[in-house]
Amino acid sequence: MTYLSKSPWLLHYNASSCNGCDIEILACLTPMYDVERFGIINTGNPKHADIFVVTGSINEENKDVLVNLYEQIPDPKVVVAIGICAASGGVFRECYNVMGGIDKLIPVDVYVPGCAARPESIIDGIVKSLGILEEKRTAMVKGIPVKPEMNTAVREAGTE
């Protein structure tokens, strides 16, 4: 992996997930899978993060938190949606307090499917996102703006 020139830190947020994917993300950081050997650290501070890892779907209460965290992460940044809930709402799609996948609110770069997503596929997704992060960084250095549009309509419309 020649493009791993930096140690990317990730910020994890649980947006109405069932914990299944969350504990699998933590499992990636612990001895069996150990992504920390690549310099990937789970940070709690959005200002320190490069990769935004989100599990679960958005709801009324957490949508503002999600956007707030996304906006606080400095550019360049990538968003990885872990689990089928973050992609589309998954098994909870028809619940009254589930608005669907997180891409309704923030731009997503990599989707990792699964319920719960396996650590192997999570690592695969994060590695894919590293390439995208590097592209964004190069573009930023060249002065090309990399600010994708955020979908504010959903944020204001609320649950139907």
Partner: protein, 359 residues
């Protein structure tokens, strides 16, 4: 009186794997009041019961929480079986017992690891999670899933475990038990851990009961209450005593979990010895009618599922009372009077599972 200030804790916070928000009212460094607010993980899946057939809803019930998913599935299936008066085959009951104790092992290792992380003991955190992977390997080998198993169904279980595999699991646990002894020794004996935990977040015996604490939080305050003693699944045929500690502080709650893991290993051993041969499921026909309450012991405490059917394929009501939800009032009581720096430790000492609590 000194000036009061309010510090927000969460929903996104370095020590919280899950979002919960606490407003901490401080006087200098001392927490004088706590205002919890929840709802960040609320999905509203109890209502989904109206749209799913009663046999399908097991999958949703399992996804109430990814950590104790098997136990949720078990509680739901027990409820429907009770309502429909289905006799579950003996072997299936034993398999359910084995898997629910495996869930307890993985959950307790997980929570002890996170607890070590909160204490700043990174090595211990990694060690606990290293051991947990062995448990998950067995889970995956027998059910097909690491954290969400999908092996429980109305009328029994979805797949059998061969007797060779059962023996293999027990010998694996025997090996693991030695390593777990070393791990729990650190939690129970290490002087720096003790100095962080002893006397912190004390929940007196009387208050624990009055506030409705459940599980290790309740047993850490001297109450010998364990829903497994009700004898659901195959627990009535196995011998065990609930682990009880009397101090009611963070150390006691940590000790209850550490010691409970060995009880779980012992229960699995007994179950493997006594498991009878036979079918693992019965055919289910008809539709549930009536109401049913079922109580099971989740890793975090007593879990109650209430189900109501009206003779159609869809149930009309499902209500879940989870242990974390009832442990929030005791948590507020524990936090009052503590130092700000101890807040993360106390919050983790109830082993919060917000996914369960908010559903």
């Amino acid at each position: 009186m000194s000036r009061q200030i309010i510090i927000p804790f969460g929903p996104q916070h370095p020590v919280l794997p899950e979002p919960i928000h606490l407003d901490l009212v401080l006087e200098d460094e001392i927490v004088v009041d706590v205002i919890p607010s929840i709802g960040y993980v609320h999905r509203g899946l109890e209502k989904l019961v109206e749209r799913r057939e009663y046999t399908e809803y097991v999958y949703v019930a399992e996804r109430i929480c990814g950590i104790c998913s098997f136990v949720h599935g078990l509680a739901y299936c027990q409820g429907v079986e009770g309502m429909m008066k289905i006799e579950v085959p003996e072997r299936a009951l034993y398999l359910r017992t084995i898997w629910s104790e495996y869930s307890r092992l993985h959950s307790h290792l997980l929570t002890l690891g996170l607890f070590a992380d909160v204490l700043g003991f990174e090595n211990l955190f990694m060690n606990a999670w290293r051991l947990r992977e062995h448990i998950l390997d067995d889970m995956e080998a027998t059910t097909g899933g690491r954290v969400i198993q999908g092996s429980c169904k109305v009328g029994g279980v979805r797949r059998d475990i061969s007797s060779e595999k059962l023996d293999q699991m027990v010998s694996g646990l025997n090996e693991l038990e030695k390593e777990m002894k070393e791990l729990t020794e650190v939690f129970l004996r290490d002087s720096s851990i003790k100095s962080r935990l002893c006397g912190v977040g004390v929940l007196p015996k009387k208050e624990a009961y009055e506030y409705g604490a459940a599980g290790p939080t309740l047993r850490g305050s001297g109450w010998s209450i364990d829903a497994r003693k009700l004898g659901y699944a195959a627990f009535s045929k196995l011998n065990f005593e609930p682990v009880v500690e009397t101090q009611g502080d963070c150390y006691a709650r940590c000790a209850v979990r550490a010691k409970e893991m060995f009880v779980s290993i012992d229960l699995i051993r007994q179950a493997v010895q006594k498991i009878p041969d036979g079918p693992v499921e019965v055919k289910v026909t008809g539709a549930p009618d009536g109401e049913y309450f079922t109580r099971v012991e989740q890793p975090r405490g007593e879990l109650v599922h209430y189900l109501k059917g009206n003779g159609t394929k869809n149930l009309v009501r499902s209500r879940v009372r989870t242990p974390t939800f009832t442990n929030i009032p005791p948590l507020v009581a524990m936090l009052k009077g503590c130092e700000l720096a101890d807040v993360p430790v106390i919050v983790h000492s109830i082993d919060p599972c917000i996914g369960c609590a908010e559903r």
